[in-house]
Amino acid sequence: MPSPDTLSNQTPPEGPLVDARGLSHERDGRRVMAIGDWRLNPGNHALLLGPSGSGKSTFINIVTGLLTPSHGSISVAGEAMSTLAPADRDALRRRTIGLVFQTLRLIQALSVRDNLALAQRLALGRTDHAAIDQMIANVGLLHRADARPRQLSQGEGQRAAIARALVTRPRLLVADEPTSALDDGNAMRMIDLMFKTAEATGATLLVATHDGRIAHHFANRLDLAAPEPIAA
């Protein structure tokens, strides 16, 4: 059996990185997300655009294996995420996907460097200090490597979160509303940084947002419709 490290990403996949078939999800009898068939090929960074409630987060939860879809199926890196056992989903997510959230979710008790080391140890079972420092340098935070997350500015925190997601060298980097809380300048810098670091590590981006300011960066867009109004 190959080690998690060897599975981590670098071999170019044969098929699509994400393959959704007839995908939709219902909650309390109401359809909250409907995508149908959709594919994300390696290197073809995608934007998932839609207003609040259109199902972006639901789709991300399904892609990352945190949620089982009501209808259809989804495969990630050739493995049927939606039908795997919970432990296998965790393993697939661990070795394939990096996640960035709007609220960052950095561990406040650890420094930036230690946050990256923890992520690397959990995903790969070991730490590579040289790779960690290289990743911190890539996002321009080497001078803040020993700072706690609460000591960082919003922009620095975003960069630290991207660095943590990419330090495990995932094939797919999923970002949920990474720019929504940022002003125009920071939002553009953030998206540039994501493209740059993703390309440096060979990751493919899947960005879910309602922030139309970054739409023109992506050739591959999936627009989600506004939710159906609830019948009175």
């Binding site: 939860n61 965790d90 959230f101 709007q102 979710r105 561990i107 008790a109 650890l110």
Partner: protein, 421 residues
């Protein structure tokens, strides 16, 4: 994950320190109680070993036992030397050893007795020889260590038993050290042993004194046959002096049933049985100890509750962190292990500090309170029960951590992240 636990604990350092301190106080209280009661009981047992009955002047039987067996209280009075002969003639008495108390040297009691006394206590000579002539002294191991006295050392005793430096000195009658005893772990380590005649000599008792016969019946006096051990012979011919108490060892169980009653009813003397008095004393002290023990257990449970609340609050704040850890690859077992290790680290630190604190308090108490030092209270001795106290503290820490950990794991990661986003 241990590193992450340490980082979380360090991140809320004050909270961590207070929880450790609270648990340490509970552990320390239990350790102090355990060490105090076990060392006290152990010391009582060892010091009274081989002594089945003590005969002395009328008064409190507990006081008689404390003064003559444990050497921690003042005697109830004196009894005629003939008491020794009286006891030795009784059927079933294997041994009767006189003790003459009243003087001390630098808080160490000078005990006029016979070589049979150290033999009864299992004491053997480290160097020198046993006392043979008046004013020759054999010193216990503690006395030798604390005074630095060697063989041939002369010293002057002082009147009184609270400390030779307080009472008037007997300058004209110095003692000479002729032997030193090996440590026994009993009260004899803290005694200076000499012949009874030495005690009489320092008090100028050379001739009979009428008050020495106070309470003695004519029949008893007539019974006095002047035979037996040297002290008795000496007293019979030189001075009808007194002794403070007589320690008796029985040769048959019948004596244990008959003799105490006989002495108490038929004479003006008092007989006390160490086992009875000590168990009465421990029962009295035990009620107090039980109350303090209950308080200490309560303190430990409070500490457990405090750790529980602290971890519950911390984990509530860290639900997003926990969910994120799960997302980036931590297994459920790793999450439980991380939280459990936080509780265990707190409990281990609290238990270790509590042990240290408990032993330090015992050591300080023994060093600063003379009576406790005399009871042989020691900070360096460990009791197997301490392992149970530590285990209980660890269990409290673990349970306090596991409940909030399981609560976190039951929550839905996607929901937690959605709420936290």
């Amino acid at each position: 994950m241990i590193g992450l636990s340490l980082a979380y604990l360090k991140d809320r350092a004050l909270n961590t320190a207070l929880n450790i301190l609270l648990l340490a106080l509970g552990v320390a209280s239990l350790v102090i109680l355990l060490l105090f009661s076990s060392q006290l009981e152990n010391r009582f047992d060892r010091d009274a070993q081989g002594i089945d009955m003590v005969v002395g002047a009328k008064g409190s039987p507990l006081q008689l036992i404390l003064s003559s067996v444990y050497h921690v209280d003042i005697p109830t009075g004196n009894v005629p030397l003939e008491t020794v002969g009286l006891l030795r003639r009784q059927l079933g008495v294997a041994e009767a050893i006189p003790l003459a108390l009243g003087d001390s040297f630098r808080t160490f009691r000078i005990v006029g007795t016979e070589p049979a006394y150290p033999a009864l206590m299992g004491a053997t000579l480290a160097d020198g020889r046993m006392f043979a002539e008046p004013m020759e002294a054999v010193i216990g191991a503690d006395v030798a260590a604390r005074t630095g006295a060697g063989l041939g050392q002369r010293f002057v005793g002082g009147h009184g038993m609270g400390g030779g430096d307080e009472g008037p000195k007997h300058e004209e009658t110095p003692f000479i050290v002729v032997g030193r005893l090996k440590p026994t772990g009993t009260v004899i380590d803290r005694l200076i042993l000499t012949r009874i005649e030495s005690v009489w000599a320092v008090h100028g008792i050379e001739a009979p004194h009428d008050d020495h016969h106070e309470g003695e019946t004519e029949a008893e006096h007539a019974d006095h046959d002047h035979e037996g051990e040297s002290a008795e012979d000496h007293a019979a011919h030189v001075s009808p002096a007194e002794v403070t108490a007589v320690l008796a060892r029985f040769g048959s169980p019948i004596a244990a049933v008959r003799l105490p009653g006989f002495v108490n009813r038929q004479t003006n003397l008092q007989a006390a049985v160490p086992a009875v008095e000590v168990s009465r004393l421990l029962a009295l002290v035990g009620v107090g100890l039980d109350a303090v023990r209950a308080f200490a257990v309560l303190l430990m449970l409070t500490a457990g509750l405090s750790i529980f609340v602290a971890l519950l609050t911390a984990l509530k704040e860290r639900e997003g962190d926990m969910a994120m850890l799960r997302v980036i690859g931590a297994s459920r077992a790793a999450i439980i292990g991380q939280v459990a290790s936080e509780g265990l680290i707190l409990a281990t630190a609290g238990a270790a500090l509590g042990l240290l604190l408990g032993h330090a308090v015992i050591g300080l108490a023994a060093a600063s309170i003379e009576q406790l030092h005399q009871l042989g209270l020691s900070a360096t001795r460990f009791h197997p029960g301490e392992a149970w106290i530590v285990l209980a503290a660890l269990a409290i820490g673990l349970i306090a951590a596991l409940i909030p950990a399981l609560r976190v794991l039951q929550s839905d990661i996607a929901d937690t992240l959605a709420n936290a986003r």
